[in-house]
């Protein structure tokens, strides 16, 4: 009876997890005219049109090369021609499968889940990764933030999950959910670090909602420079949870300060030619050359700072002007990096370092918001996942040096750990006894 229970439970969980898969377009900012695919973990079945099997169980040591051939995808495996197909699918035969993608002239990446390759309207390869939602979130967390503390990735996972759930249909008309660039959220590789995956799983089911329980917009940026911005100061809408707040946690980080030196002429002429300002007028000239922000301002001489930021490609709008009359130069001395609205990632990193809890961090940056927890989450599955991955992290800590080989990848180890646990359960003498009883009763 217990065995049936376990099998049913696993099937149910497998269904629940697979039900939450998303389609992410990879290399969406690049044109891919040749890609080489190898297999870091597990085996894949390759299917062509109408689910015709091209090659079963392709795995370690095999190399698949895809190129566009008119509207078709040409396949060759280890140099052998496997014809052209309207669609080529790589379907994982196990939960722990990793593909290694090597497009020509583009940096190599690895992904979990399935891959579907077609030819796009531009005649280049159109690559979709079908992947479990939380695996995608962990990949996003890894791509979007840096750090060494699990809570950093827990916070990033919550805001990335909230954004993804709110924007699940962003690319619906194009046949996928998200692109892999900052237009959606950066997803530049699978999650290769177990501590990042731990942060994602510790926050599984958590999203941020407003006072009415609706998912909020969760913009974030690298560094606020010491003060976040109101949403309406950067975009159009004034959202109650995107208020400007002092943020001293963003000081003294990698992106806290920046400097850009330009000539006096270039600076003044920009306002004259682009914004029709009379730069001969003393008051205007003085404001342009002595502009200072101790707290964030929105305009300089009536010109939106967001425009100035774009036109001069500045890291932020939070800058002051230092005028060197002798050298006829202006130094734009700025704070932070990014639009400044919502969560500061480097502020988050510092707050985590100071032991501030993930929910306090979210409340600091998203005024009046609250964290919603999905009660329908498969709790046992998540708890076991967390426990197992924590065990892997602990094992890593015991090692004197960390060597990451394909065999050592945390995903492979996680599933070897699961296999072991399941085997131990199957061969448990007491379990056998119970099974006998059950067979007898039946």
């Amino acid at each position: 009876m217990k065995r049936i229970g376990i099998i049913l439970c696993l099937l149910l969980l497998a269904y629940e997890v697979s039900a939450e898969r998303v389609k992410v377009r990879l290399f969406s900012n690049n044109t891919v005219d040749l890609i080489n695919i190898s297999f870091d973990l597990g085996k894949y079945n390759l299917y062509g049109n109408d689910s015709t099997l091209i090659e079963p169980e392709v795995g370690d040591g095999k190399s698949v090369e895809l190129t566009p051939n008119g509207r078709m995808v040409h396949v060759s495996i280890d140099g052998y021609d496997y014809g052209s197909h309207a669609k080529v699918s790589f379907v994982a035969t196990d939960t722990a499968c990793i593909l290694c993608l090597n497009p020509r002239n583009i940096k190599q990446r690895t992904y979990e889940g399935d891959l579907v390759v077609t030819v796009g309207k531009n005649g280049k390869l159109f690559i979709i990764n079908e992947v479990e939602f939380e695996t995608y979130i962990a990949g996003v967390a890894q791509s979007e933030i840096y750090g060494n503390h699990t809570d950093i990735f827990r916070v990033q996972s919550i805001i990335s999950r909230t954004w993804a759930m709110k924007n699940i249909h962003k690319h619906k008309n194009e046949g996928y959910n998200f692109c892999d660039q900052v237009h959606c959220q950066a997803y530049l590789n699978r999650c290769v670090r177990p501590d990042i995956m731990l942060g994602t799983m510790q926050s599984a089911g958590m999203t941020i909602v407003d006072s009415e329980g609706k998912l909020i917009d969760t913009p974030f940026h690298s560094n606020s420079g010491g003060q976040t911005a109101n949403s309406e100061d950067v975009w159009r809408s004034a959202l109650p949870y995107l208020r400007s707040v002092p943020d001293t946690f963003s000081y003294h980080m990698r992106q806290s300060e920046w400097v850009k030196v330009i000539t006096e002429d270039k600076w003044l002429n920009y306002f004259s030619s682009k914004h029709n300002l009379n730069i001969q007028a003393d008051s205007i000239r003085q404001e342009l050359l002595q502009f200072a922000q101790s707290t964030r301002k929105v305009r300089i001489c009536g010109v939106p700072l967001t425009r100035v930021r774009t036109d001069f490609q500045l890291k932020s709008t939070f800058f002051s002007v230092l005028y060197d009359s002798a050298a006829h130069k202006v130094t734009l001395s700025g704070h932070g990096f990014g639009h400044g609205v919502g969560l500061s990632q480097e502020g988050t990193i510092r707050m985590v370092g100071l032991g501030i809890s993930y929910d306090s961090i979210i409340h600091h940056y998203y005024t009046g918001s609250r964290i919603h927890f999905d009660e329908d989450l498969p709790h046992t599955y998540v708890e076991n996942y967390i426990k197992q991955i924590a065990q892997i992290i602990e094992e890593d800590k015991q090692k004197s040096t960390q060597t990451v080989s394909k065999k050592d990848d945390w995903l492979g180890r996680l599933f070897r750990l699961r296999d072991r646990e399941e085997r131990e359960e199957v061969y448990d003498p007491n379990q056998d006894e119970l099974d006998s009883d059950w067979q007898y009763d039946w």
């Binding site: 001293t248 000081y251 003294h252 002051s320 510092r350 370092g353 032991g355």
Partner: protein
């Protein structure tokens, strides 16, 4: 233009270096002769006297090295006359600097004092002579404004705190981590040998009592391993990093700080801290008589905010048991940590923007062109 700058301590060296950069931006042909340390040397030239040979603090310590101090004063006067600067800039270090300022004023030199002595705390009587001999006094704490206004000192100007310049120039380095992933506690026991010998042994009691943390001493290269190692050798959860105070504070979860500039640095990095200080008993007794109950606090965060943000363990209160007690509050008590960090935000607000060095350079430059 010719500038003669005198910095006598590590913090003066740091602010002196930033001031030199600002002066050189303003006056690229500036000829600068200075007393200072490695930071100033990185900007330009070599110090006439290095700070490692100058740092004596407290009445008794200075008295013990009186002949050296007097020798330095004599040498400085002769050196100024030989160099014949357009302006002399004194950075903090008032005991020495005010003597030189009187001499320089008598010889017709222009005098600028950057980082004013804490006249509001003690030896207020110096204000009269400072008014006479200084052409400009650049003060750095926002609450000093009222003091100088009430004491008819129009030549005093608020330039902002130079630590903001130093901190804003800080380029994030490699994070300081513990070998076993433990949280980092920064120990900032001071920069003077005598001070260190008093404070570090007491901090070691906490180090031994808290094996769950890794303690890192903000050390100074000029003192070196031979100085620090004997003081810390009895624990394995402690290391020393040299000349990386900001990297340390940027990585720290909490700190124990010997009173001084470092208390403000810890606040600027949002690190909850316990402040401790124990002066030589005779110095402390004299100071007590001079200061009386004029000031409520000793640490810069509390002074600036005029609020007890961080705990101060001073003189007899600086014991191992009290330190242990207060350390627990800044590490284990989440509400207290939050209260301290909220207090720090007030300090950030009160101090305002960086730019003290530039503003001071501007004051110096305009004084010379008057």
């Amino acid at each position: 233009m010719k500038y003669y700058i005198i910095a006598g301590e590590a913090s003066g060296d740091l602010h002196g270096a930033n001031l030199m950069r600002s002066i050189l931006r303003k006056d690229p042909n500036a000829e600068i002769r200075y007393w200072g340390g490695d930071a100033m040397q990185e900007v330009q030239g070599h110090p006439v006297r290095h700070i490692r040979d100058l740092a004596y603090m407290g009445i008794v310590e200075v008295a013990a090295h009186l002949s050296t101090v007097l020798g330095n004063i004599r040498f400085c006067k002769e050196d100024i006359l030989a160099f014949n600067p357009d302006v002399i800039v004194y950075i903090d270090y008032p005991g020495f600097n005010l003597k030189i300022a009187k001499f320089a004023h008598a010889h017709g030199f222009k005098n600028v004092h950057y980082i004013s002595p804490q006249l509001w705390a003690w030896k207020k009587g110096r204000i009269k002579s400072m008014r006479n001999v200084l052409d400009k006094l650049c003060y750095i704490l926002p609450f000093e404004q009222d003091f100088y206004a009430n004491n008819n000192f129009p030549k005093a100007v608020y330039v902002g705190h130079p630590l903001l310049d130093a901190a804003s120039r800080y380029v994030v380095g490699e994070p300081i981590t513990a070998p076993d992933g433990k949280k980092i506690v920064a120990l900032l026991p001071g920069s003077r040998r005598m001070e260190l010998k008093k404070t570090l042994p007491k901090m070691m009691a906490v180090v031994k009592a808290y094996p769950q943390y890794h303690f890192v001493v903000a050390g100074m290269t000029l003192l070196g391993d031979s100085f620090y190692k004997p003081l810390i050798e009895k624990a394995d959860n402690i290391t020393v990093v040299y000349d990386r105070t900001y990297d340390l504070l940027a990585s720290a979860f909490a700190a124990i700080v010997c009173s001084g500039t470092a208390t403000l640095e810890a606040a600027l990095f949002n690190v909850p801290q316990v402040v401790c200080y124990r002066a030589n008993a005779v110095s402390a007794a004299i100071a007590r008589v001079l200061i009386g109950d004029k000031i409520r606090f000793i640490s810069l965060p509390n002074l600036i905010a005029d609020l007890a943000i961080v705990s101060e363990l001073i003189q007899d209160d600086f014991t191992e048991s009290r330190l242990m007690e207060e350390f627990a509050k800044v590490t284990d008590d989440v509400d207290n940590r939050q209260r301290i960090i909220t207090g720090y935000s007030k300090i950030h607000h009160l101090l305002g923007d960086a730019g003290a060095s530039d503003r001071t350079a501007e004051e110096i430059y305009s004084l010379m062109n008057q």
